[in-house]
């Protein structure tokens, strides 16, 4: 049997910087460097053990200031695709230890407007008042029209995830709850069907991870976590064209289920299926996206996601606990991209068994995602406790 492509790769370090609504005295560089120091501490590694850096705009500065060149590098804003690139670089011998890091602070200052990264400048949407919530609302409304998905079902997702954040001492919105679905529905409307509490919040902060070889991982202090599968689905640029559920080409594969084909490839790579997943660290920009992902990834049939998430199935102790730290709704949403790393960090923490809240007992497989149909892409990564 062929060796798994990520057989010799492990995730060995995870860290968050401080996360807060506003981080006084920090900019994007200083907060990213804080996360880097913390992830080095998590692994016991030095800067000179790192021979690859995937930190978006900070890749160059980090390599320069750490004096760890010559180093492999990736300049794209890190999220699941870049973690997969880093794993591939290690698997193909281009480097042995990659630092993944990103952070954001001091970017969102004009508070009368929505955050700058949510507002498209594209000529076909700019004059119609579009921003992230409206883009994702156009996806949710279409699903509600087709399948009768209800605001109460969306609110159940939001209350579940916000309660995970309410309980987590490091969440930006720690202690803000607990919330019932009625509390979500009572919050002011932002973009129908999304109430304020159906939406991601905004904050500041940085994240970092370290990947290395399976062999090197054995000498490091923390339990290694392995990549069982991963892939990415894109249907185009985010927030520039109508976010239509039925956007498709000759393949017939539609934007409404973006992530489905990435999930199928990921499950095939790991010889797994949805029932093998112990914890669902799904990206939660808006409540409806969780319902959509359960359908897209094959956990339930098309149109049944609204019913599927009810009756405690996605809460603590449920069959498929979701977004167990509070996600972008409550834990943190550091900027345009950095918060996407939170899903992988939390997946690793679940598999290490070190979560201070909402730890899934004996979790062995975590499914993590980024993106959403309103943004025309979804990325998937499957993590596990055992070498694939």
């Amino acid at each position: 049997m062929a060796k798994h492509p990520f057989h010799d790769v492990a995730i060995v370090g995870i860290a968050n910087s401080e996360q807060a609504r506003v981080l006084e005295g920090h900019d994007s560089t200083t907060i990213t460097f804080q996360a880097v120091h913390r992830v080095l501490a998590d692994t016991g590694l030095t800067p000179w053990d790192i021979d690859g850096v995937a930190a978006g705009p900070f890749s160059g500065p980090l390599t320069y200031y750490m004096r760890n060149g010559p180093a492999w590098r990736n300049h794209m804003a890190p999220s699941i695709p870049i973690i997969l690139d880093a794993a591939s670089a290690i698997a193909t011998g281009q480097c042995h230890t990659v630092l993944v890091a990103h952070g954001s602070a001091g970017i969102y200052t004009e508070r009368a407007s929505t955050a700058p990264w949510t507002r498209p400048a594209n000529e076909f949407v700019v004059a119609y008042g579009m921003f992230t919530a409206a883009e994702f609302a156009l996806i949710a409304q279409r699903h509600m029209h087709m399948h009768g998905t209800t605001p109460e079902q969306l609110a159940t997702v939001a209350a579940t995830i916000r309660n995970n954040g309410h309980a987590h001492p490091d969440a930006v919105y720690h202690g803000r709850g607990p919330f019932t679905p009625d509390d979500i529905l009572a919050s002011r409307m932002v973009s129908d069907p999304f109430h304020l509490l159906d939406c991601a919040m905004t904050s500041e902060g940085a994240c970092a991870l370290i990947l290395t070889t399976r062999e090197r991982a054995q000498d490091l202090p923390k339990r290694p976590v392995y990549i069982l599968g991963g892939a990415c689905d894109s249907f185009g640029p985010s927030y520039q064209h109508p976010p239509a559920w039925d956007l498709a080409g000759p393949s017939g594969r539609n934007n409404g289920y973006t992530g489905r084909w990435a999930a199928q490839k990921s499950f095939a790579m790991g010889e797994l299926g949805p029932t093998d997943v112990d914890v669902c660290e799904f990206y939660d920009p808006f409540s409806f996206e969780i319902i959509r992902q359960f359908e897209a990834y094959g956990f339930c049939e098309e149109g049944e996601g609204g019913d599927f998430i009810m009756d405690g199935r996605i809460g603590p102790g449920g069959q498929f606990p979701v977004t167990t730290d509070g996600g972008t709704m409550s834990f943190s949403h550091g900027g345009a991209a950095v918060q996407q790393l939170q899903r992988v960090i939390r997946g690793v923490e679940q598999l290490r068994g070190t979560c201070v809240t909402s730890q899934v007992p004996d979790a062995q497989v975590a499914m993590c995602s980024n993106g959403g149909a309103g943004a025309l892409f979804t990325d998937v990564i499957l993590l596990g406790t055992e070498t694939p």
Binding site: F124, V126, Y128
Partner: protein, 140 residues
Amino acid sequence: MSEILQPQSPGIPLPVPTIYSQPYWDGCRVGELRFQRCQDCGAITMDPAPACSACFSENLEWEVSTGLGEVYSWTTVWRPQTPAFTVPYVAVIVTLDEGFWLLANIINCPVDAVHVGMRVKTTFVELSEEITLPYFEPVD
């Protein structure tokens, strides 16, 4: 009786046309909703693009839409993108009768009347010397 949706006022961010989209915006200024049709495969491309979105041919020609269509999806926005926008406004994706999608706002319509399948037609509002925007309004 709910509020009647109005077009936005000058001061909102406006489109910056490109070489390949300029004919679309020129059309709006004379009250025409223009779209591109591929002369090789017959497919429609929208938004305006440098190549056919069905066969990637560059052999595209402009045609004029009837401007008639139906609402495919919608959202009523209560938190403005920037203070330049007046709320509420309703963003819609409309499926034009020719078969392409256009994202715009709907006006001249009660705010709570918008629904999937609603028949609409284009109407044009001048926002600057260079830019006239297509909006949709209900068909009587």
